[in-house]
């Protein structure tokens, strides 16, 4: 018993030290954002000795467009993508997991194949398509694909989840005369909730943090999302205003961390059980 407890203490110590080293940069970032400009690099301590909000005030509007605009844009895009993913992926997942139709295996294989496709491989043709449609500098290229189940990862996740739901449930409903739409809406969707939550949270966070797509498709300051806003801040400030840059970095992390904290137990379980990125 004592031997066992000693091992645990050792494990705890090792883990805690690792954890502190890992989290330290984030803590330092938050602390530094509240330090006066001239103290940011002279102290390793994350605690600001003379805390100030100056960096937040100077950073918020430094790019010419307010960070409020970037935040609103990011939230709009992210929420649209979440809705699109939830609808289109759950529909496809239900069909793949439960319905028997011609060429299902072929389509399912194709869906799995797209999981391995690097998104850069389609970046340029997609760009030219959206360019022809005159969609550049709108949110449409960032949102529309997700209403067509572009992110196959979540289809796969939901298929796996639906396979774990007892078939007797929907077969009973079908015997009672429910059609596929009703079985899907009243039986499968409610039971799918954990997978839907995982999908929604991850979609939000990934979309919010996505950079390359937004960099490619959005060119107008007022359409910029948070990552682009932060990036243009770096360009503009080019080393002159570290404080503002760090403060705005913290601002861009806040929504992600907030969503994570609210959902963490379920999200972490969901990721562990489905093995997703």
């Amino acid at each position: 018993m004592t031997a066992r407890r000693r091992i645990h203490w050792r494990a705890h110590t090792v883990l805690l030290v690792t954890l502190i080293v890992m989290i330290y940069p984030l803590v330092w970032l938050v602390g530094a954002s509240f330090k006066p400009e001239n103290q940011i690099f002279t102290t390793v301590s994350p605690l600001p000795l003379e805390p100030t909000l100056a960096n937040y005030f100077s950073g918020w509007t430094a790019t010419g467009t307010s960070f409020s605009v970037y935040l609103a844009n990011s939230v709009t895009v992210s929420l649209c993508v979440v809705v699109g993913n939830l609808i289109s992926c759950s529909l496809a997942a239900y069909a793949f997991a439960r319905l028997d139709f011609a060429f299902r295996r072929v389509w399912f294989g194709l869906m799995l194949g797209t999981l391995m496709l690097p998104f850069q491989a389609t970046l340029i043709p997609q760009y030219t398509i959206f360019y022809r449609l005159n969609w550049i500098n709108t949110f449409l290229p960032l949102v529309v694909p997700y209403f067509l189940a572009y992110d196959a990862f979540f289809i796969f996740l939901m298929v796996q989840f639906i396979r774990g739901i007892p078939r007797e449930l929907d077969e009973a409903a079908a015997l009672d005369g429910a059609g596929h739409v009703r079985v899907f809406g009243t039986i499968i969707l409610p039971l799918l909730r954990p997978a839907l939550i995982t999908t929604g949270v991850l979609t939000f966070i990934w979309t919010f943090n996505d950079f390359l797509r937004q960099l490619v498709y959005l060119s107008d300051n007022t359409r910029y999302t948070v990552p682009l806003g932060l990036n243009s801040f770096i360009d503009k400030a080019s080393g002159s205003s570290y404080g503002g840059m760090l403060a705005m970095s913290v601002v861009t992390l806040v929504p992600t961390v907030a969503v994570f904290l609210i959902s963490q137990r379920r999200l972490v379980d969901g990721v562990a059980n489905t093995g997703i990125k």
Binding site: L15, P25, A95, P118, F184, G275
Partner: protein, 318 residues
């Protein structure tokens, strides 16, 4: 959604027919054609519109000179030939390969170590899991890359810390010898996702094997290599495939840390960054398409080799 009916095929639902003993009626075999295609209609539209057709179009573009504004000019294999003699391209390939073969093992090793440490029935497991996972979620964000740049810059946090011990640290970001390793380190920092997957796998290992090993007096390291690791090989395989694909596509940290240049002297010019610079910086869309196709084939080749080698080292239960 109303589009559902659009892509539904002309095959009507089969009328009830008496069972035939010799040949199963084809229509009967697939009971839910109409519903099935209705439900996958959005995905079908998407996979053709945003994946398959663009892939073919991209292949065509890779055989042209194309600047987006004027019509593509057919050049045959020119782009591919040019790739081979483009020193910046070859540098990008080199940097990316080094990045992949160092960052992926580092990340998986850390993930496995922490997962094994966490799998001792510790109290506060949930807390550890969450906090270790957090960097994986934040990792791709611009803010984290900004933070990384501040840590490893000349007057950054790391050198400040090293100063306590009288060590004069290098300019980690500005020195081409070190810049790439800060990116590898950043990737290692995000071991949370594979860790969660390892942890889920460890939970399912049969305990009787461990009891037998304990009776035989096997040490902990021996147990790890002869029992845990082989049993966990499907998880190792899964993580290896996933993280390799991800590593090949890394973009944001290289872009932010080098301020969009891939510098110093192209030491952080990851493949995707060079693709972006060619395609969207200098509007050489045909050239960038050729790069994208090579990337696609290389990732395919890596995956194929993994699957081929898996027969030798991945143990599936049953």
């Amino acid at each position: 959604m109303s589009e559902n009916t659009v892509a539904a095929p002309a095959v009507a639902a089969a009328p009830p027919t008496p069972p035939r003993p010799v040949r199963v009626n084809k229509r009967k075999r697939h009971k839910h054609n109409l519903a099935g295609y209705g439900f996958i209609a959005p995905w079908l539209l998407g996979v053709f519109g945003f994946t398959l057709i663009p892939m073919v179009y991209s292949l065509y573009l890779s055989l042209t000179r194309f600047n987006l504004l004027t019509a593509p000019q057919w050049t045959g294999l020119d782009n591919y030939v040019t790739l081979l003699s483009d020193p910046r391209y070859l540098q990008a390939v080199k940097v990316t390969l080094i990045y992949v073969v160092t960052s992926v093992p580092l990340k998986l090793a850390l993930a496995l170590l922490v997962a094994v440490a966490l799998n001792r029935g510790l109290a506060a497991l949930g807390f550890y899991r969450s906090v270790f996972y957090l960097p994986s979620l934040l990792g791709a964000s611009v803010a984290v890359s900004v933070m990384w740049r501040q840590i490893f810059s000349q007057q950054g946090l790391l050198n400040e810390f090293l100063g306590w011990f009288g060590i004069h640290g290098a300019d980690w970001i500005g020195d081409p010898r070190y810049a790439m390793w800060t990116l590898v380190l950043l990737s290692g920092w995000q071991f949370g996702t594979p860790m969660l997957i390892f942890l889920a796998g460890l939970k399912q290992l049969p305990q009787d094997l461990y009891e037998a090993a304990a009776l035989d007096g096997a040490g902990r390291i021996r147990v790890f290599f002869t029992i845990t690791l082989p049993l966990l090989s499907p998880m190792v395989f899964f993580n290896l495939v996933l993280e390799t694909i991800n590593a090949f596509q890394t973009f944001t940290p290289a872009f932010v840390v080098s301020a969009g240049t891939g510098g110093p002297i192209d030491s952080t010019l990851l493949y995707t960054l060079y693709l972006y610079l060619k395609g969207f910086g200098s509007l050489q869309m045909g050239y960038a398409s050729a790069m994208a196709w090579v990337l696609f084939l290389v990732i395919g080749a890596f995956t194929a080799v993994y699957f081929w080698s898996a027969r030798r080292w991945v143990n599936y239960a049953e």
